[in-house]
Subunit: 199 residues, 2 copies
DNA sequence: GTAATATGTTAGTAAGTACTAACATTCATA
DNA sequence: TATGAATGTTAGTACTTACTAACATATTAC
């Protein structure tokens, strides 16, 4: 029984533990026994909530797959200065990646095992985000702020820089980047990109 | 016995098959039985060459872990025009990623299981490459070609754009990017980065 | 040709895994 | 207090996995 954190109902606890263990040990490496133990429930309780490990995995994907967070930001930044807007987008993007790092890890490791599902989630996130950002660039071009470039490709470039930075930071499990590194890197990335796209 | 491709000695065939299966199914998902079958050898032959599956996996990492390929390129591009040099670097980088995509997949999926080893390989590749590229930017700054920016951060930005593009392409298993997409994306990325860093 | 070496065949073991059956216990609510 | 729902306990099954033993066969070197 161990700790009995009242709050979460059983199903939620199992899903949470599963997210953590699937992301660190993979689908095969995380056993139902361990998931149950870490969730503080009996193994059979897990199977009463989820008919199979497969199903549990899919429910994890469904539960923690995420929707674009940038869309709501666009009106807010429309009036801002270019570099400031880019900085805000970058920060929001990195924050979102941080808050969903377990899902990203799962997507990386299980992409080949569940291609359709993972692919769908990936598109619902990154690709959607790219299109949103591209439409922002489009507006700026019509306003004459930025030069004439392919908006979607530029969005890919911008987000790609930060996504790789995020991955590198995740990879560097030992000599971790300090939190302050992002503060150094964001303005430099933004500066390069802004100068590279301004008129 | 099936196909008996004379060429490769047994050990090499097993390593090659292992690389492929570990990358598509993960360390746990790839069974020694399957590796042996796909290699065209008996399972016990595998264990005569490698004392354990663990050991086989480590030998795969050792065999296919790679060294920087950019270093030899630097003298060659030193005299070239900036954008042309960047284009060449990008192409070489993408080619290298392509030729090692199985290793990259393994690094992504097994990072948490073998942190020390994977981390070492990662550093031997990406981080080394970043430093090499940074030294190129340093030279250009002394020649007065580019403006004053943090060379290593810029290298991270440049390679990051392409690394994310590579990852996206790998992820997009279904509606695959056509080979021509790289031809559209490389110049646009290079153009943004070059304008962003020139004096 | 003979000896050594690499490989194959067959069979098997010990351990772990997802998942189930049967029955007991807790706990909220009426 | 009684009832029903959710959970726990114990035991077990069928299957897979990494890995081994013992012996047979092929291949190569001299």
């Amino acid at each position: 029984m161990g700790q009995k954190e009242i709050s979460l109902p059983t199903r939620g606890k199992i899903l949470e533990t599963s997210l953590k263990l699937f992301s660190t040990k993979g689908f095969l490496g995380a056993t139902t026994k361990e998931i149950a133990r870490e969730s503080g429930v009996a193994e059979i309780t897990l199977f009463r909530h989820f008919p199979s490990k497969e199903n549990l995995f899919e429910e994890v994907l469904n539960t923690y797959s995420f929707l674009p967070v940038l869309k709501g930001l666009l009106p807010e930044i429309a009036a801002m200065q270019y570099e400031k807007a880019l900085t805000m987008i970058a920060k929001k993007f990195l924050d979102t990646l941080d808050s969903r790092k377990e899902m990203i890890q799962i997507m990386h490791s299980e992409a080949k095992r569940y291609p359709e599902k993972i692919h769908k989630i990936y598109h619902g996130f990154i690709e959607e985000l790219i299109k949103t950002l591209a439409s922002y660039f489009h507006e700026l071009r019509e306003k004459g702020v930025v030069r004439d470039f392919d908006a979607e490709t530029a969005a890919r470039a911008f987000l790609g820089m930060f996504f790789s930075f995020f991955n590198a930071r995740e990879f560097d499990m030992f000599k971790k980047y300090k939190g302050s590194d992002a503060d150094k890197i964001i303005p430099e990335f933004v500066s390069i990109f802004a100068r590279g796209t301004l008129k």
